[in-house]
C-alpha cells in the first residue's frame, strides 16, 4: 500500500473517531427533539475537522482527494449523522466557490478560505429531482426550478418542485444553488427561506425561493454595504453537472453510511439479545433478514464504487447515476426498516435513535425525488434509449 493510500484510510478512520466523540446519540436526539441545531461548541468542534476541504482541490487549500475517498468520508458522515448542512457546505458550496475562484473571482477565493477555516457558513440547494422524463409526454412528477439568470427559462405553472430545499446552518451567509444546466452562488440574505420542520429534524431545513428574474438588477450593495459583492455569481454551465454529480455522490455515500450503521447495530443486537433461551441471531427469521440487509448494503457499496470509477474516467454516466439514485436510497431504506424490525419494540423507541438513520435515509431518498419518481425516470430513460436505437433487431 502506498503512503498516500494509507493516509486516505487514516483520514476516514480519524474522521470517524472524531465524529463519534462529538456526535453522541443523546446529543443528536436532543437536537432532533428540539428540531434545532447542535449547540455552538459542538458546531465549532465539527468545523475544526477541516471537513469542508474534502471536495476542494489542493491548489485552493483543499484535500484534493479522489472520488472514492470523498465517498468514504461522506459515508462516515452518514454513519455518524453529521449535520446535513455540512454536506451542502463541503460538497457543493466549497467546490462552487473554488470554481468561481479559478475563474478569477477573488471574493470567492476569500470566501472559500473562510469556509475552509470554519469562519464562514453556507448552504446548498440542489435540484436533483428526476425531471428528465423524455420518453414521450409522460407527466413529470417534478420539474426543475427556473434559472434565475435566464429570462427565457419559463416558470412552470405547476412548479411545485421549483421548490428547493436547503439545510441552513446558523449564521449562513451564502447559498450555492444548482439547477438543471445552471449553478449560482447567492447571498443568503437575497433568497427567501421558509423554515420547515424536517422529517430529519435538527438540520435547519428550509424551503428556498429564488429571486425572480430581473431582481438581479436591483441594488443589493446598499444592504450589504459591500459594493464589490455581486449578489448572484453564475457558474459555467458545465459546473452545474459536476456539482450535481458531487452532490449525488455525497448523498448516496452518506445514505450507505447511515444504512451501514443501522445494519451494524442490528447485528450487534441480534448477537446479544436472547429470547426463548437463545440469541435471536440463531433464528433464521432474524439471520436471513440480516443477510438481506447485508446484501442491500454490499450492492449499494458496489454501486458507489462504479459511480466513482465513472467520475474518474468519463465524468459520469447518466444511466449509472439514475440507477444509483433510485436503488441505493431504496436499498438503505429497507435496511433501516429491517433494523427497526430486528430490534423489536426497542427499535421503535425514541432513545435508541435508529429512527435518526431512517429519517436521514428517507430524507435523502426524497431529496432525490423519491422512490417511484426515480424509478420512473430510469424507466423513461430506458424507453428513450431503446427508441433512439431504432428498436434494434
Amino acid at each position: 500500500m502506498s503512503v498516500a493510500a494509507a493516509d486516505e484510510l487514516e483520514l476516514g478512520r480519524s474522521l470517524d473517531a472524531s465524529l463519534a466523540a462529538i456526535l453522541t446519540m443523546p446529543r443528536l436526539l436532543e437536537g432532533a427533539r428540539l428540531d434545532d441545531h447542535l449547540p455552538d461548541e459542538l458546531q465549532r468542534a465539527l468545523l475544526g475537522l477541516t471537513w469542508n476541504a474534502i471536495a476542494v482541490e489542493e491548489r485552493h487549500g483543499g484535500l484534493g482527494v479522489a472520488p472514492h475517498v470523498r465517498a468514504r468520508l461522506a459515508a462516515v458522515a452518514g454513519r455518524r449523522l453529521l449535520p446535513a448542512s455540512m454536506r451542502g457546505e463541503a460538497f457543493v458550496l466549497a467546490p462552487a466557490l473554488a470554481l468561481l475562484a479559478s475563474a478569477g473571482d477573488s471574493i470567492a477565493e476569500e470566501e472559500l478560505q473562510r469556509l475552509l477555516a470554519g469562519e464562514l457558513r453556507g448552504a446548498a440547494a440542489v435540484a436533483t429531482g428526476p425531471w428528465r422524463r423524455d420518453w414521450r409526454d409522460a407527466p413529470a412528477r417534478t420539474s426543475p426550478p427556473h434559472d434565475p439568470h435566464d429570462p427565457d427559462d419559463p416558470d412552470d405553472p405547476d412548479d411545485h418542485a421549483g421548490k428547493l430545499y436547503a439545510c441552513v446552518p446558523p449564521g449562513a451567509e451564502l447559498l450555492a444553488c444548482v439547477g438543471r444546466g445552471w449553478a449560482t452562488v447567492i447571498d443568503i440574505g437575497d433568497v427567501e427561506l421558509r423554515r420547515v420542520r424536517g422529517l430529519d429534524p435538527g438540520q435547519g431545513l428550509a424551503e428556498v425561493a429564488l429571486p425572480r428574474r430581473g431582481d438581479d438588477a436591483s441594488p443589493a450593495a446598499g444592504r450589504t454595504g459591500d459594493s464589490r459583492r455581486r449578489r448572484q455569481r453564475r457558474l459555467p454551465a458545465a459546473a452545474a453537472g459536476s456539482l450535481r454529480r458531487e452532490w449525488l455522490l455525497a448523498l448516496l455515500s452518506e445514505c450507505c453510511g447511515a444504512g451501514g450503521q443501522a445494519l451494524e447495530l442490528s447485528v450487534d443486537y441480534a448477537r446479544q439479545r436472547e429470547q426463548f433461551g437463545q440469541r435471536i441471531a440463531s433464528f433464521q427469521a432474524v439471520s436471513h433478514t440480516l443477510a438481506r440487509m447485508a446484501v442491500a448494503l454490499e450492492a449499494s457499496d458496489a454501486g458507489i464504487g462504479r459511480l466513482c470509477a465513472e467520475m474518474d474516467e468519463s465524468h459520469g454516466s447518466e444511466v449509472i447515476e439514475l440507477a444509483a439514485a433510485h436503488a441505493i436510497p431504496a436499498a438503505m431504506r429497507s435496511v433501516c426498516e429491517s433494523a427497526i424490525q430486528v430490534h423489536g419494540g426497542v427499535g421503535f423507541s425514541w432513545e435508541l435513535g435508529l429512527h435518526l438513520y431512517y429519517r436521514r435515509v428517507l430524507s435523502i431518498q426524497y431529496l432525490l425525488g423519491g422512490d417511484g419518481a426515480t424509478a420512473a425516470a430510469l424507466g423513461a430513460h430506458t424507453f428513450s434509449e431503446r427508441e433512439a436505437s431504432g428498436h434494434r433487431g
Binding site: L9, G12, R13, D16, H68, A71, R72, A75, R79, W135, R136, D137, A138, P139, S253, C256, G257, E264, V267, Q278, R279, A281, S282, Q284, S287, H288, L290, A291, A294, V295, A299, D301, A302, G303, I304, G305, R306, C308, A309, E313, V319, I320, L322, A323, A324, H326, A327, A375, A376, A377, L378, G379, A380, H381, T382, F383, R386, E387, H391, G393
Partner: protein
C-alpha cells in the same frame, strides 16, 4: 460497515481491454454460432463420436442450435428434446438452450479458441492469453451482448481449469488443460446428489481405494452437460466412514468408462438441461484426483469460488438484452392488446421497468466488484453469495414484469417470455438456494456463527 474498503474497488478496462473488445467485435461480426453448427449429418456424427460408449447419448444430436433443422429422435431422450423444441418455437433471446446445444457450441468455442479468445486469463504456458480477468469480462460481455452463446466448456475453462492450476499437479495440467480450451474435452461437475443438495457435505458417492484404482459407486444429480462431457469432476468419499467435509476427494472420472450411466432429467419446461449420473463400480486411477486425496472439500470450494464473477456478469448482460427486448416489444405495441403503454407512457410500467433496470445496473456493479476482488486476490469468503442473490432477484422480477405488462395474450401461451418466467424459478435454487446463500452471508459476511 467496513469503512476502509468502502466504496468497493471496481473492474476498470484499459487500453488492452478496449483493443481486445474491438478485435472481438470484428470477429463476432463475421462469425455466427448458428452457422457454425453445420448440417444435421455432421451434427449426428459429431455427437455420436462424443457420446462414445455411452450409447444412449446418441439422441443428443437432436440438440441442434436454433435455426438448424436437426432433430434425430433416437430414444426417449430425443422425445424430450423434440417436445422441448416445440416449446421453444418463436423464442429468441437469452440463449440458455442454445448454449446447451452440443455441436454448435463446440464448434463455436473451437473457433473462438483458434482466434485466440479462449483462456484469456490463463497463463501463456498453458495455452492461455496471459491477460487478466478484465479480458475475460470483455469476452463474456461481447458474447452476451451479441446474443452469441456462452462457452460450452464453461465448467472446464472457468472452474476446473483454474482450480487445477491452483491446486493440482503439473502432469494433470499438461494432460487436461488443452482439451478444455479447444472444447475437444468438455467437463461436467459432479457435486449434487439426491440426498446432498443444499447440504453438499452429505455426499455419499463412494470412491473405494482398491490398489491403484478408485472404485466409484453412487449417484449424482442435476449434472449439466453430463451427456456431452468427456470428464466429470466428481466429489466422492474416499475415506470410508468419514463424515461431512472430511475424507472427500475430487475424482476425475472419464465419462466413457464402463459403469457410467447418464439419464436425462427433464426440468420444469420438459427440456433436458440436466442429468442424473450413475456410477456403478467405475474405475479411476488413484492419481486421477484433483489436488490431494482427502482434500476434496477444499477443491470443491475452490471450484465454486470461480463459478460466480464471470457467470453473473454474463447473465447480467443477457438479462439486460431481454429487458431491451421487452421495451422494444412495448414500443411496438406488442402487448397483446392489453395496452400497457399508451402514447403517454404509463407511470406504473415505467416505474417497474426502472426498478429492474436499476437492479441490473447494481448487479453489473457487483459483478465488476467481484471480478476486481478475484483479480486482486481479496475476495472475501461468502462474498459471491451477494452476486447470486442479486442475480436471482432481478432475474425473477424481470420475467414476472415482462409477462405482466405484455398481458394475458402473451401470458396464456407458451412463448419466450413464459418460457423464461418458468425457467427463472431455477435461479433461486441452483448453485445453492436462496436460503443457503442467506445462511452463508449471515455466517461469513456478518460473522454470525450461530446462524444456520
Amino acid at each position: 460497515m467496513r469503512l476502509d474498503s468502502f466504496p468497493a474497488a471496481t473492474l476498470r478496462f484499459g487500453k488492452a481491454e478496449s483493443d481486445l473488445r474491438e478485435r472481438l467485435r470484428a470477429w463476432i461480426a463475421t462469425h455466427d454460432a448458428g452457422e457454425l453448427a453445420g448440417d444435421a449429418g455432421e451434427l449426428a456424427s459429431e455427437a455420436g463420436e462424443l457420446a462414445g460408449e455411452a450409447g444412449e447419448l446418441a439422441g443428443e444430436a437432436g440438440e441442434a442450435p436454433a435455426g438448424a433443422a436437426a432433430k434425430i429422435p433416437a430414444d426417449a431422450a430425443a422425445e424430450v428434446l423434440a417436445s422441448a423444441g416445440e416449446l421453444e418455437q418463436g423464442r429468441g433471446g437469452l440463449g440458455e438452450d442454445r448454449d446447451e446445444r452440443l455441436s454448435g457450441g463446440i464448434r463455436w468455442q473451437a473457433a473462438l479458441h483458434r482466434a485466440g479468445f479462449i483462456g484469456l486469463s490463463w497463463p501463456c504456458e498453458y495455452g492461455g492469453g496471459g491477460l487478466g480477468l478484465a479480458a475475460e469480462a470483455v469476452l463474456a460481455e461481447e458474447l452476451a451482448a451479441s446474443g452469441q452463446p456462452e462457452l460450452i466448456n464453461r465448467i472446464g475453462v472457468y472452474m476446473v481449469g483454474p482450480t487445477m492450476m491452483d491446486l493440482d499437479s503439473e502432469e494433470h495440467r499438461r494432460r487436461f488443460l488443452p482439451g478444455m480450451l479447444d472444447a475437444s474435452e468438455l467437463w461436467c461437475q459432479g457435486f449434487s446428489e439426491p440426498d446432498a443438495g443444499s447440504d453438499l457435505a452429505a455426499v455419499r458417492t463412494s470412491g473405494r481405494i482398491e490398489g491403484a484404482e478408485l472404485a466409484i459407486d453412487g449417484q449424482k444429480v442435476w449434472t449439466s452437460r453430463a451427456h456431452v462431457a468427456r470428464w466429470c469432476a466428481a466429489l466422492v468419499r474416499t475415506e470410508p466412514g468419514s463424515r461431512r467435509h472430511r475424507g472427500l476427494s475430487m475424482a476425475i472420472v472419464d465419462m466413457r468408462s464402463p459403469g457410467v450411466t447418464v439419464r436425462a432429467l427433464p426440468q420444469i419446461l420438459g427440456e433436458r438441461h440436466f442429468n442424473e449420473v450413475f456410477f456403478d463400480d467405475v474405475r479411476v486411477p488413484v492419481e486421477d484426483v484433483i489436488g490431494l486425496p482427502g482434500e476434496g472439500w477444499r477443491v470443491a470450494m475452490q471450484m465454486l469460488s470461480y463459478e460466480r464473477g464471470l457467470f453473473v456478469l454474463e447473465r447480467q448482460i443477457r438479462l439486460h438484452r431481454r429487458l431491451d427486448e421487452l421495451v422494444e416489444a412495448l414500443l411496438r405495441g406488442e402487448d397483446g392488446g392489453s395496452g400497457s403503454l399508451p402514447a403517454g407512457g404509463r407511470t406504473a410500467v415505467l416505474e417497474r421497468a426502472g426498478r429492474v433496470r436499476a437492479a441490473l445496473e447494481l448487479l453489473r456493479a457487483q459483478a465488476y466488484r467481484t471480478l476486481a476482488a478475484q483479480r486482486d486476490g481479496v475476495l472475501r469468503s461468502g462474498a459471491t453469495s451477494v452476486d447470486k442473490l442479486l442475480l436471482t432477484d432481478v432475474y425473477q422480477e424481470l420475467f414476472a414484469l415482462a409477462v405482466d405488462v405484455l398481458g394475458p395474450n402473451v401470458a396464456m401461451s407458451m412463448n419466450g417470455w413464459t418460457h423464461d418466467l418458468l425457467e427463472s424459478r431455477a435461479v433461486s435454487i441452483y448453485g445453492g438456494s436462496t436460503e443457503i446463500q442467506h445462511g452463508i452471508v449471515a455466517r461469513q459476511l456478518l460473522g454470525l456463527q450461530e446462524a444456520r
